[in-house]
Amino acid sequence: MRYSGFRILREALRGHRGWGPAWRDADPQPSYDIVIVGGGGHGLATAHYLAARYGARRVAVLEKGWIGGGNVGRNTTIIRSNYLLDGNEPFYELSMKLWEGLEQDLNYNAMVSQRGVLNLCHSDAQRDAYRLRGNAMRLHGADAELLDADAVRAMYPFLNFDDARFRIRGGLLQRRGGTVRHDAVAWGYARAADSRGVDIIQNCAVTGLRIEGGRIRGLDTTRGPIAAGKVGVAVAGHSGAVMAMAGLRLPIESHVLQAFVTEGLKPVLDGVITYGAGHFYVSQSDKGGLVFGGDIDGYNSYAQRGNLPVVEDVCEGGMALMPMIGRARLLRMWGGIMDMSMDGSPIIDRTPVEGLYFNGGWCYGGFKATPASGLAFAHLLATDTPHETAAAYRLDRFRAGRMIDEKGMGATPNLH
């Protein structure tokens, strides 16, 4: 069924009896050409692009819970392509372009809102770093504007410009950045993939990988064995557990990142503001809640909840930046599990097991990457060659010394 304004009008006149489920709740078949493990944003996007752009047939997505119930439903919905390094920026800019055409491509309202992402700066050195970054972004076709303090004040007069420690001296603005309704990304990709024959199999956890003679043959699942020509794993947060079934150790630690939302307020904040120096970022959802967060807790965790010191740290950052946030009441807080990689950048690559492919290591930046990650992973699965924008995301780059370390932190996952 194609969604349109006309369709809504027609259904309104007929008592909304014509709407069907957006995708089938498929049962597993005995075998597939390609099986994607993980029905999150990246896995569903991979399935969509495999079917839509690479003509793949007999594709399945396995999800241990329900689709949209993992990290794609736990992030803070921000999209941006404001990276510095050559290995990253073309990939994230491709992702931004895919976001811009996503709703037409999927025929689904994902509420893509290019409301602008502003990174605040507080010193001459930080402004120089942002100038460098902004120029790198523009060289790769992205947009970036360096703002002085007056320009920031004109946008957000309520910020605390004269904080004793971190005076606001300007910022780097990407106007094309913004937010997207995260659940709708999962649902839109699921619907589009399903319409091209992809089986989306929920409540189906993978319990083993069948490997014979160094080649993948299929998977064992809680819903029975499934034979597969190729298997793509896209389960960021739990990559270690799944890849351990293939005997692989990864350059990844799992960490918890907390997020927070206040009660619904009238519109007060029309863009996204990041305050890196204070470990805080914030936007306002279309429903009115202030959605904010800060740093990861910093220790290995699979708990999907964090601890109070980081809650205090994030809220202190919020109070320092926009004191009026103290009047808002916190409605909910939660944690998501991140694949923190050894250089802060992701991995999309083949593995030493023939026919087994890996997509993970997204750190706290996986949501914005969803479309490009899906396209690049589909490209790799279909053609056995890396997508041109993801060629640097190799699994062996740590051994080869080709790290993509935006923050220059080295092999310390909790500091990226």
């Binding site: 270690g240 150790r249 630690e253 799992s254 220790y299 010191p309 050894m342 740590f398 310390t412």
Partner: protein, 95 residues
């Protein structure tokens, strides 16, 4: 989280900084054969278990001792705290 320091008693985890898997104590010999592979494993690869995890915490805001904390990564429950020095000596790294 409260870490029960073997010398100082229960301390708030925010007094500590976190390094990672306690396997980092067992640094390979840089002069041994196969050192390149051993250091790649040591520096970059992790078991990353969902469950009990032995890990290094540094009491930076306290007595500056290194501890090996055994903690469940699914619940954050801490079941054992040792001085990293004792762990390293037990591994024969004191010589």
């Amino acid at each position: 989280m409260i870490i029960d320091h073997p010398l100082l008693g229960p301390r708030d985890a925010r007094e500590f900084t976190y390094l990672g898997d306690a396997a980092l104590i067992d640094r390979p010999d840089g002069l041994a054969a196969g050192a390149e592979d051993a250091f790649y494993d040591y520096l970059y690869l992790r078991d990353n278990p969902a469950g009990l995890h032995r890990e290094l915490w540094y009491h930076e805001q306290g007595d500056r001792s290194w501890l090996v904390v055994t903690r469940d990564t699914r619940s954050h429950e801490i079941t054992q705290v040792e001085l990293a020095r004792d762990v390293a000596l037990a591994l024969g790294r004191g010589a």
